[in-house]
Amino acid sequence: MSDPVHAKLLARIAASGDVAALRGLRDQIHEHMEALLSARPIEQFYTDLNEVHDALIRRAVTLSEEQMARMGLGSPPVPYAYLLFGSGGREEQTLTSDQDSGLIYADPADASQLDAVSGYFEAFARMVVEMLQQLRYPPCDGEVVSANPAWCQSLSQWMAKLDLWFEDPDWERVRYLLIVADCRIVAGLPSIWMALKEHFFAHMHQNERIVHNMLNNTMRHKVLVGVFGQLFKENYGEDAGSLDLKYGAYIPMVNAVRLLAIQAGVRATSTLNRIEQLTQKGVFSEQEGQDYDGVFKLFLRLRLLTTSKKESGIYTNNGKLSNTRLTKELIEELKTGLRTVKRLQKQVRRRATGRF
């Protein structure tokens, strides 16, 4: 780590003994990161920031383990992996991201222990989520959090669930599959997570028709640029004149790259890494790879400029880029970028439907 302040902060997180101290550190880090924003390349910024988030979450997991032990509930009965989904999974968390998480634990040697083991991890996951909430990470609206028993299960339960989702893929299940595609381990034993991941890709390999189901979900969010090259902005309300950068630019691109990546067996979860590996595999030409990389970095940069507020201590963000931020040059850059995403979407559609 080139930045000594940053390294010191990470060390302090790892040594921090309670929630209050962690929360103080998070606030400090936000100030530090905001100051650094213009000073370094955007991908470097995200890497640093996500290291910090990871460190905080990891610390919360460790502290929760200790807390469980103190409460007389013992230590983890079997190895586990604490997973991040969504932007955390993709290493694209901003300063205001929420919690999208899951938990996966090894199958107990004796099936009769399953109830006790699941009881432990459900309590444990609730404690982690609660602690992260105190660190001002709001839980995800869609209830994709480890505290939700559906997202806190043993490896074989997880695998059975994936089997079901792949075999009978309705809209909701396809959505879950795409969420799982972005998962990444943040704490615990990597081999458990790897097993899940390989199970997922084995299904992808055998079950090519699933791509058709995934396509609709992937294309669900429209790119906010019109046939005249105009941007579709918010017409009404407080955010009139803003551009919904999150759902009109960033998410469509994330979705498109994800589908190509999982089709091509690319294991990486960050969108930039996926673009790089897709280029290496020849799915994108060198030129396309460069274009997509550039556009995604633009979106990453703009995401940090979207309207955010600190509401009763919680960091929130509506994902919208205010009119006042939209300079003439930026609008031109955005239009070019959005048209590129439309091209990318076309490519995804062609590949998914097998029409070349």
Partner: protein, 456 residues
């Protein structure tokens, strides 16, 4: 077959001997009778358009005002009828002052109209039917004006303005363009069924009202951005457009004021083309520009096509009717955006649908009217494309500017006086609780609104 026919005719003549022996009616009487049937049916269709306005206006606004908005239309239709009968018709079509200088500006005669009980010799249409048809138009113009009052004007403001509008605003414009004595008629201004007379007049009164009333609570934010106040029933909106669309055949084709050589059929045909163009163009333009095909815009587009084709339906070729409708559909979309941008709250889009499209329709005659049709109707001459002459376009622009100017000034003065003397707007509390309760004491949707109130 023939045997059967003869037998049954014989049987019929036994039953109804008059059929065989009565004097055959003269050709003139038959002609008059046919005219009467068509124009009275047309007048009824135009009155039925009030049903369209009831649904349009209440569907485009919120539940808490629905009963008030719908019911007041029935009241103002009644009051408008009495005022038009007493004085409005006299100012519009009274011919007692023909020949005097003032007759160019305003008519006089037939106050408290008492028509002949039957058509006189050589009269193509009984005067009672002509009156009914003209009255229906006045009532439509008035209902358009209510668009500017919606959801915040006091009931008493509706009462007073009905009297003023029906007595001294609408009849003046109607006289200028449609009375044989009117100065714009003499100049050859072409407004077949009233893009200016009915629609622009109503829209400008609505504009004055909406400016003087100020926007509804919550329509615009402090920073100038707009909020969307959605209407409570889009199905009412769509149904209203269909009712108005059908009623419009009475509006336009009825304006032939007779059956004649069947020309009214051509007018109806062009009307359908204009409406179609407006609906199609509006949906497509909203889709292209906003990325989402907007239903409200589509409905407005159909109406704008109808408004624009109202002046032009008898003066243009079918292709021009399509072009006029298409452009009206595009115009209404951008016009609505424009009024929102200048922070004019136009809940029913009256200014765009009836105002912008009314101006466009009137001016379109100066561009698309053919000389042959102008000569046939004996009103003005062909427009720019057919004749290469700018004259008719100038006349059309002049009539729009002068008529619009008169209505604007008169409405601002009259509504301004009302605002000072009696106040136009309900209190903030009344507006929030809804006009159903504040003006009438009961809800249009009692179950839903009582539930909503309990939750408050």
């Amino acid at each position: 077959m023939v045997k059967k026919l003869v037998l049954s005719l014989g049987a019929l003549s036994l039953l109804f001997p008059a059929m065989a022996f009565a004097d055959d009616p003269s050709a003139a009487t038959l002609n008059m009778g046919l005219n009467s049937i068509w124009v009275l049916v047309a007048a009824i269709l135009v009155i039925l358009m009030q049903g369209g306005f009831i649904l349009l206006e209440s569907g485009s606004t919120r539940m808490k005002n629905a009963g008030h908005i719908a019911g007041k239309t029935v009241f103002t239709l009644g009051l408008c009828t009495l005022i038009y009968w007493a004085v409005g018709y006299a100012f519009a079509f009274g011919a007692d002052n023909t020949g005097t200088g003032i007759s160019n500006i305003i008519g006089s005669g037939d106050f408290f109209f008492s028509p002949d009980k039957a058509a006189g010799d050589g009269v193509g249409l009984p005067p009672a039917i002509f009156f009914t048809f003209q009255l229906a138009f006045a009532a439509v113009s008035l209902s358009i004006a209510w668009g500017g009052f919606a959801e915040r004007a006091k009931l008493s403001a509706y009462l007073v303005f009905t009297v003023l509008f029906t007595a001294v605003i609408y009849p003046v414009i109607s006289h200028w363009i449609w009375s044989a004595d009117g100065w714009l008629f003499t100049k050859g201004a072409q407004d077949y069924a009233g893009s200016t007379v009915v629609h622009l007049t109503g829209a400008i009164a609505a504009f004055a009202a909406t400016v003087l009333l100020k926007p509804r609570i919550g329509r615009f934010n402090k920073d100038g951005s707009a909020n969307e106040i959605l209407g409570h029933n889009q199905v009412f909106g769509a149904l209203s457009v269909l009712i108005l669309w059908v009623g419009w055949f009475g509006f336009n084709a009825g304006s032939a004021l007779g059956v004649g050589d069947g020309f009214f059929g051509y007018v109806a045909f062009n009307t359908q083309l204009g409406a179609a163009g407006g609906a199609v163009a509006a949906l497509l333009i909203s889709w292209l520009v906003n990325g989402k095909a907007d239903i409200t815009t589509t409905l407005n587009g159909a109406l704008a096509g109808l408004v624009a084709i109202t002046a032009t339906c008898a003066f243009v070729e079918p292709w021009a009717a399509v072009v006029i409708g298409l452009l009206a559909g595009v115009l209404v979309f951008f016009s609505a955006k424009f009024f929102e941008k200048i922070k004019v709250d136009d809940p029913i889009f009256a200014l765009s649908v009836h105002g912008a499209a009314g101006v466009w329709g009137t001016i379109a005659n100066g561009i698309f009217a053919t000389d042959a049709l102008a000569k046939k109707l004996n009103v003005g001459e062909g427009g720019l494309i057919d004749t290469g002459n700018w004259h008719q376009l100038w006349v059309q622009v002049e009539s729009v500017v002068v008529c619009g100017g008169y209505v604007l000034v008169a409405s601002f003065i009259l509504l301004g006086i009302m605002k000072v003397v009696m106040g136009l707007r309900v209190t903030e509390e009344q507006e929030i609780v809804g006009l159903d309760l504040s003006e009438h004491g009961t809800f249009g949707y009692p179950e839903q609104m009582k539930k909503a109130q309990q939750n408050m």
